[in-house]
């Protein structure tokens, strides 16, 4: 049985525009999304800003009611059976919010333990363990407002684990973290997954998603565009990328390259020392000689071929369309 089940989920927001002539406007934040997440899986939701990721997470964490469709976690309806569900899940929203800044780290965790009905016997040890895990033991009794951004974010993680949740939701958990902080967080996520917890996360960092997620869903404008493992997504792309560094870029170069068979897209970027071409294509081995032939007069500095990355997949699927 799946831990998270989302079936034909829809969510509309009604907003009024204008101050004097109030006009009702409906935003379809989630149009029709279905997916399932199995026990112990790390599931990634990718998509541009406004795609509906946060709305989806809010629905699954019982904070928001679906307009239509079904959302179940651990077999409980997210709207209607939240009483049972809330004890068994938790969430972490990225950034420095969701903490009491004027209280110490310890007080924060202790309070949330009480709100999550953690028995007194377990509470002390769990708080100590959590503080230890996120490396804040020595700062336990300092006020949160004296913490750096990374420390606050780590405390958030500890907060999200006070009830030892079976399912954990993370919305852009590494946003604004430095590389070391982000790595620490990824390690924690992997460890939690190793302990059998089911994790659903969103992120804008493709490498992170690639490294962590067992399966990835790419959504845009409230619709599901792709859903698969990272490997399958890249394979399905059936394409590779050739990157060429040039000194000279002629007007017709791009047209000529685009006209080649098996080339799907060409883009150019200029630097002060020259230009960089990115050529998306199928069957790159055949293409490279053709490309270098075409560019013989452009003074090629280097030419590299690489497999498509998750970022390429993402960009292709979203199509550089970030109008939402």
């Amino acid at each position: 049985m799946s831990v998270i089940e989302v079936k034909n989920l829809k969510r509309d927001y009604e907003t009024s525009v204008g101050i004097f002539k109030r006009e009702k406007k409906v935003v379809h934040a989630i149009k029709d999304i279905s997916f399932e997440v199995g026990q112990g899986e790390i599931f990634g939701l990718l998509g541009p800003n406004g795609a509906g990721k946060t709305s989806t997470i809010k629905i699954l964490t019982t904070l928001l009611a679906p307009t239509a469709g079904e959302a179940r976690v651990l077999g409980c309806k997210c709207f209607g059976e939240e009483k049972e569900l809330r004890k068994r899940i938790n969430f972490i929203f990225g950034g420095e919010r969701s903490l009491y800044w004027r209280l110490s780290a310890y007080d924060n965790l202790s309070y949330f333990c009480d709100l999550y009905q953690v028995p007194e016997k377990i509470k002390k040890k769990r708080i100590a363990d959590l503080l230890d895990m996120v490396g804040l033991s020595d700062r336990a009794h300092y006020r949160v407002e004296t913490f750096s951004k990374g420390m606050k974010q780590r405390l958030q993680i500890a907060r999200g684990l006070v009830n030892n949740p079976e399912v954990l939701f993370l919305d852009e958990p590494t946003i604004g973290l430095d590389p070391v902080g982000a790595k620490t967080l990824r390690d924690i996520i992997k460890r939690l997954s190793g302990e059998g917890k089911t994790i659903l996360l969103t992120t804008h960092y493709m490498q992170e998603a690639d490294e962590l997620c067992d399966r990835i869903a790419i959504i845009n404008k409230g619709e599901l565009y792709a859903l698969n493992t990272s490997e399958k997504l890249k394979e399905n792309m059936d394409s590779a990328v050739i990157e060429v560094d040039l000194d000279l870029l002629k007007e017709d170069t791009l047209y000529k390259l685009k006209a080649l068979e098996n080339v799907t897209a060409v883009s150019a970027a200029s630097y002060n020392l020259g230009h960089k071409l990115k050529i998306d294509c199928r069957n790159p081995k055949k293409i490279i000689p053709l490309v270098s032939q075409q560019l013989s007069e452009n003074q090629i500095k280097s030419i590299v071929m690489r497999e498509a990355t998750l970022e390429d997949v993402y960009l292709k699927i979203i199509g550089g369309d970030c109008s939402a």
């Binding site: 904070l63 007080d107 709100l115």
Partner: protein, 261 residues
């Protein structure tokens, strides 16, 4: 049930710690009653001790209690939202209304502290004699009054979470309440057509009861009808509280317009 009690106590403690680290709350709880008791002492300075206690002490006490409660009920949900803590407590297994009960109780305890501060100013600093004709009835009235304050605060916090306009209004509600409930003067000075409004506010009854038990009760039927009135309005606040929080629970998630989330 036991976990609810624990959550209430925990929220109450947390709220006191939090509020107290906020400078504005220190002002509302400590400095404001002191300065305001001094100011009103000078206004009333030619009067008898009984008047000083009945108007300067009680006036300052009730207005400070009101301020600490309206300040917190108006501000707390907003502040929690601003800190992003609202969604976290909203989605905890303990019901939101239970958590808020604990928080309001925390602020009420601080409000009681400011009542005591105003008493100290009037009695210690200015040497007014604090004599009670009916100490037991006075204590009962105060106790009921405080319970009533808890529910008025809860009801307001719910109402404020539902409606943005009430939140704006809340910033200007202090003087009308002070005027209507007769904090520093008997409500007989108000015009007849306004006076009925005073009786929807529990401070009106609390002040009447306290003043009667300070100066001596001549007419017990008035006293008891004031107690009944106090109980009745408190029951209304309680109903409002439960109702508003039920609305919040559903409306917040359905419409996403309450910004509870």
């Amino acid at each position: 049930m036991r976990s609810n009690v624990k959550a209430i106590i925990s929220s109450c403690k947390l709220q006191m710690k939090q509020s107290f680290s906020r400078s504005m709350f220190k002002f509302v709880v400590i400095l404001s009653p002191i300065i305001s008791a001094i100011t009103f002492y000078f206004i009333y300075s030619d009067k008898t001790d009984e008047t000083l206690i009945s108007y300067v002490f009680l006036g300052t006490a009730i207005t400070s209690m009101w301020s600490s409660i309206s300040f917190s009920s108006a501000g707390d949900i907003d502040r929690e939202r601003f800190m992003g803590a609202l969604e976290v407590i909203f989605s905890a297994p303990i019901q939101f209304k239970i958590i808020m009960l604990g928080k309001v109780m925390g602020n009420t305890i601080l409000g009681i502290a400011s009542m005591l501060i105003s008493l100290l100013v009037v009695v210690v600093l200015f040497g007014a004699k604090f004599t009670l004709a009916h100490p037991v009835l006075f204590s009962i009235s105060m106790l009921l009054g405080i319970i009533s304050f808890v529910f008025i605060a809860l009801m307001l916090s719910g109402l404020l979470a539902i409606s943005r306009n009430t939140r704006i209004l809340m910033n200007c509600i202090d003087y009308p309440v002070f005027i209507l409930c007769g904090a520093y003067f008997p409500i007989d000075v108000l015009p007849d057509y306004i006076r009925p409004l005073a009786y929807v506010l529990s401070p009106t009854y609390i002040l009447k009861l306290a003043r009667m038990s300070i100066s001596g009760i001549t007419d017990y039927s008035t006293f008891y009808s004031c107690i009944l009135g106090l109980l009745a309005v408190t029951l209304v606040y309680l109903t409002g509280y439960l109702w508003f929080y039920r609305v919040i629970d559903v409306k917040a998630r359905k419409e996403a317009t309450l910004e509870v989330i």
